[in-house]
């Protein structure tokens, strides 16, 4: 039987008298991407810290590559790589020196060659000999991840790898994650973005205030979420009435003079919708497409929005 790369059961953790993780459990097959999705304060970083041996759990078992984090800490540390939420690079060293430091600590033979290869792979050659303090946020994250890859860890933990990055850097990060998976690495990543989990993950677990409220493939999860919809606003009640008669299945809001039309939000269905309005000579004042985001997932799964979850 092929054992799971990560196996967690009954994991509990309290900070002071605040319950951070309330008995969560999940398994991650080797070579797959597992994403933990949740808002700030849900317990994602605590989970990463326990899984990477940085924090001790109060109860439950965690096995990484078959080793128990509590009793076989050293073996666990040998097979993992961790990129924390805040780029843990040495600002007073250059990019090259940061990588060299990792190679030395991991006792990598022919460290120079590895360092050069990583600099090339992460497109950091030009800034290799500049101090990391001068790097942009995206470059720091790339350097951080490159440092994590030294020593070829089997299982990599990425705690919110793209939070605060611009869209281009985010795509680069995604590309790197995909390459790692293609090489057979197991990835555990946390994120606040449904899109990111959707793009990268084989399985997603949704964490809310220390509870796993849902687990499944991206498709399974999205099925539980109200789909995308088109929102139409009209000039007056008369127009709204007319549109509501044509667009059956839409939800109307008389106060706001809006109609909420379910649909996949794709160009084909949008054209059909607009054609239908034209055909009946109905004029919409405003037109907008809404795709489900983390707020929708949370609303659907927990019955409250993320902002409320944070406020509580």
């Amino acid at each position: 039987m092929k054992s799971s790369a990560i196996a967690v059961s009954g994991l509990r953790k309290t900070h002071g008298n605040k319950l951070v993780l309330d008995g969560i459990g999940f398994e991650v097959p080797a070579g797959s991407v597992f994403s933990m999705l949740g808002p700030n304060g849900a317990g994602k970083t605590t989970t990463v810290n326990v899984l990477t041996t940085l924090t001790k759990a109060d109860a439950g078992t965690v096995r990484i590559a078959g080793h128990d984090v509590a009793t076989a800490t050293r073996q666990v540390r040998k097979v993992i790589g961790v990129t924390g939420q805040f780029a843990a690079v040495d600002e007073l060293l250059t990019g090259r020196e940061n990588l060299r430091l990792m190679a030395d600590l991991k006792r990598v033979r022919s460290g120079d060659r590895l360092v050069t290869r990583l600099l090339e792979r992460f497109d950091l050659v030009e800034s290799a000999d500049k101090m990391a303090a001068t790097y942009s946020g995206g470059m720091r994250r790339k350097l951080d991840l490159a440092m994590t890859l030294v020593g070829d860890p089997q299982i990599i933990f990425l705690d919110e790898p793209t939070t605060g990055l611009d869209p281009r850097s985010r795509r680069t990060m995604w590309q790197i994650v995909r390459e790692l998976v293609a090489e057979g690495t197991t990835i555990f990543l946390t994120t606040q973005y449904l899109e990111e989990a959707d793009q990268l993950a084989d399985r997603i677990a949704v964490l809310d205030q220390g509870h796993l409220v849902a687990q499944g493939t991206p498709e399974e999860l999205k099925r539980q979420v109200p789909g995308s919809h088109v929102r139409l606003r009209f000039a007056d009640l008369f127009e709204l009435d007319q549109a509501a008669r044509v667009l059956t299945g839409a939800t109307r809001d008389d106060q706001e003079l809006t109609l909420r039309v379910p649909g996949d939000g794709g160009p084909r269905s949008l054209r059909a919708l607009l054609d239908l309005l034209d055909e009946h000579l109905i004029n919409a004042e405003e037109f907008s497409v809404h795709t489900p985001d983390l707020d929708d997932v949370f609303f659907a799964l927990t019955g409250q929005t993320t902002t409320e979850a944070i406020a509580r």
């Binding site: 041996t53 050293r74 040998k78 805040f86 843990a88 060293l93």
Partner: protein, 253 residues
């Protein structure tokens, strides 16, 4: 590879990292090496004429300046240790199974080296300013040994302070008492010229016997009793600093 050689190798890697930091950070070099030299110029050329001591003032002041030079370089270390803890890099080392002893030892050894370089500068410039010690080679060796021990002891204390501080800024400030202690000792004026209260403090605080021992060795008249007291203080401070540092580290990381 045995655990011991691994730890030793890791400590050496960490030390190289910290030495690079020192060289990259001009403020650290200024604070640790240049500022004590400026103090020496001030004490010898500006204030020194007003102080009444036996012999030339520079011969009296150099041992005190050597101790002061050691303490001046501590602030940057406390800040650096704290930065390691608060900026996440310690988690990286921890997850890589780098022993915490190696991270701390890297700071201690690089700080000790930096202190000794500052002391070498004081002695070198001191010679140029007319410092004329009468120590035998053996006494020189003993004096260097005392400097090394003191630098080692204060480095451990500083690492502990850096670990305990909440922010990088407060970590730097935490070493100020160590910088002040030489002023309240027999470093620049004999303790018996001080007012009551301060005089007793100056006589019994650790830096006075250490400075007196250095002074005795460098003038060629060491006193065994004072030397033993100095030695006891250095060893005691090292043990205290080490235990404090390890306990604080366990609590924080």
């Amino acid at each position: 590879m045995s655990t011991l050689t691994t730890s030793f190798g890791d400590s050496a890697i960490m030390m190289r990292r910290n030495l690079k930091h020192t060289l990259r950070n001009l403020v650290t070099v200024f604070q640790a090496v240049l500022f004590p030299l400026v103090m020496m110029l001030m004490f010898v050329y500006v204030f020194g004429g007003a102080f009444k001591v036996q012999g030339k003032y520079i011969d009296y002041a150099v041992p005190g300046l050597l101790v002061m030079a050691i303490t001046y370089g501590l602030g940057p270390t406390a800040a650096a240790v704290n930065g390691d803890m608060t900026k996440g890099i310690i988690n990286r080392f921890k997850a890589m199974d780098v022993p915490h002893g190696a991270v701390l030892a890297g700071h201690v050894v690089s700080t000790t080296l930096r202190s000794l370089i500052a002391d070498a500068a004081i002695i070198g410039v001191g010679f140029a300013m007319g410092f004329r010690p009468h120590a035998s080679p053996l006494q020189w060796l003993a004096a260097i040994g005392i400097m090394l021990l003191l630098a080692f002891a204060t480095s451990w204390l500083t690492v502990a302070m850096g670990l305990g501080a909440k922010t990088v800024e407060s970590a730097g400030m935490a070493t100020v008492p160590l910088i002040m202690l030489p002023f309240l000792s027999s470093a620049f004026v004999p303790a018996d010229t001080m007012g009551p209260g301060i005089r007793q403090f100056a006589q019994y605080q650790p830096f006075t016997p250490i400075i007196e021992t250095l002074r005795g060795l460098l003038t060629g008249h060491p006193q065994t009793g004072t030397a033993l007291t100095a030695l006891a203080w250095c060893v005691g401070l090292t043990i205290a600093g080490y235990l404090w540092a390890v306990a604080t580290f366990r609590k924080r990381a």
